[in-house]
């Protein structure tokens, strides 16, 4: 199978590759978003702890 045929997938290449690409982007977004939310909540908690310690 040539690279062109693999990429083209009959005449459905655009549909198939765009679905896989969008899935990859969506899963990366999800992984980053939940991780960032946890980190930001933890940073807030750290700031609170430091602020309490300073009082």
């Amino acid at each position: 199978m040539t690279l062109g045929a693999t990429w083209g997938m009959g005449r459905y290449g655009g549909y198939v590759w765009s679905c896989y690409g969008l899935t990859l982007l969506a899963l990366i977004f999800l992984a980053v978003a939940v991780r960032r939310r946890w980190r930001s909540e933890l940073n807030l908690a750290r700031l609170r702890t430091r602020a309490r310690g300073a009082l």
């Binding site: 693999t6 997938m9 009959g10 005449r11 459905y12 290449g13 549909y15 198939v16 765009s18 679905c19 896989y20 969008l22 899935t23 969506a26 899963l27 977004f29 999800l30 992984a31 978003a33 939940v34 991780r35 939310r37 946890w38 930001s40 909540e41 933890l42 807030l44 908690a45 750290r46 609170r48 702890t49 309490r52």
Partner: protein, 243 residues
């Protein structure tokens, strides 16, 4: 039967430590299985005699669609547990389900639309399956919006739990819409009780991708529940020591 382990789950420090420990054990196998299943779906499985190569989209679409209902059911059950037994961690679990639910539902609708264009000749039709899935997306967004609009966490938990429980009615509608009504969407190809309509060579990567999505969702829940625990335990001593 010893229920100590179950009661321990209701303890925020225990649940937090457990989620942190579990996360890599779910995340990295999910990535490995996803990569294998995507490779199989794109390059190895044979071409479908009717749909041609367009059917390869099912390897990302069907597992995402399955996750949307699994996640919503888990969210509604957790919300009910939180509401009935006033278990804060159940509400935290329900809240952590919402974002993965939105992402998987949006992914299902978008990949389904892209598949629909060459197969049905349209990106969107007001078909019962598609419409009930769109309603599910609005339920997830409504749940998140309701939580965000209430400052008091306990009130937000209660209000959003009621919405999650009421919304569960959409799950059987999604599942049986292709049976109850004349639907353009194809009927169920996978069943626990009947022989699959899909050939074995095609079904194995599909099942592996489903498992991968499930593990990935588990990893996302671990991070999400940690964020929720930190938010709810801001003034507790154990978190101050951890932070």
């Amino acid at each position: 039967m010893n229920w100590v382990w179950f009661h321990k789950l209701a303890s925020p420090p225990f649940a937090y430590a457990l989620a942190r420990r579990l996360r890599p054990w779910l995340f990295w196998p999910a990535i490995a299985l996803m990569a294998w299943a995507a490779y199989q779906g794109l390059f190895v499985v044979p071409v479908d005699y009717q749909q041609g190569d367009a059917y390869r989209i099912i390897y990302v679409h069907v597992p995402a669609a399955a996750m949307t209902t699994v996640i919503y059911s888990a969210m509604a059950i957790a919300a009910a547990i939180g509401l009935i037994w006033r278990m804060k961690l159940a509400h935290a679990f329900a809240a952590a389900c919402a974002l993965p639910g939105v992402v998987f539902t949006a992914l299902t609708l978008v990949t389904g639309s892209i598949w629909g264009r060459p197969m049905w000749g349209a990106y969107w039709v007001w078909d019962p399956r598609l419409t009930s899935e769109l309603l599910l997306l609005f339920l997830y967004l409504g749940y998140m919006g309701l939580r965000a609009s209430i400052d008091d966490i306990a009130r937000a938990d209660r209000a959003s739990a009621v919405l999650a429980i009421l919304g569960i009615v959409d799950i059987p509608i999604i599942k049986y819409s292709v049976i109850w009504w004349n639907s353009l969407h194809q009927g169920p190809s996978l069943s626990l009780f009947h022989k699959s309509a899909i050939d074995v060579s095609m079904i194995v990567p599909l099942l592996v991708m489903m498992l991968a999505y499930f593990l990935f969702f588990g990893a996302m829940i671990c991070d999400g529940i940690c964020a929720e625990i930190v938010k709810r335990e801001r003034n507790s001593r154990w978190l101050a020591e951890l932070a």
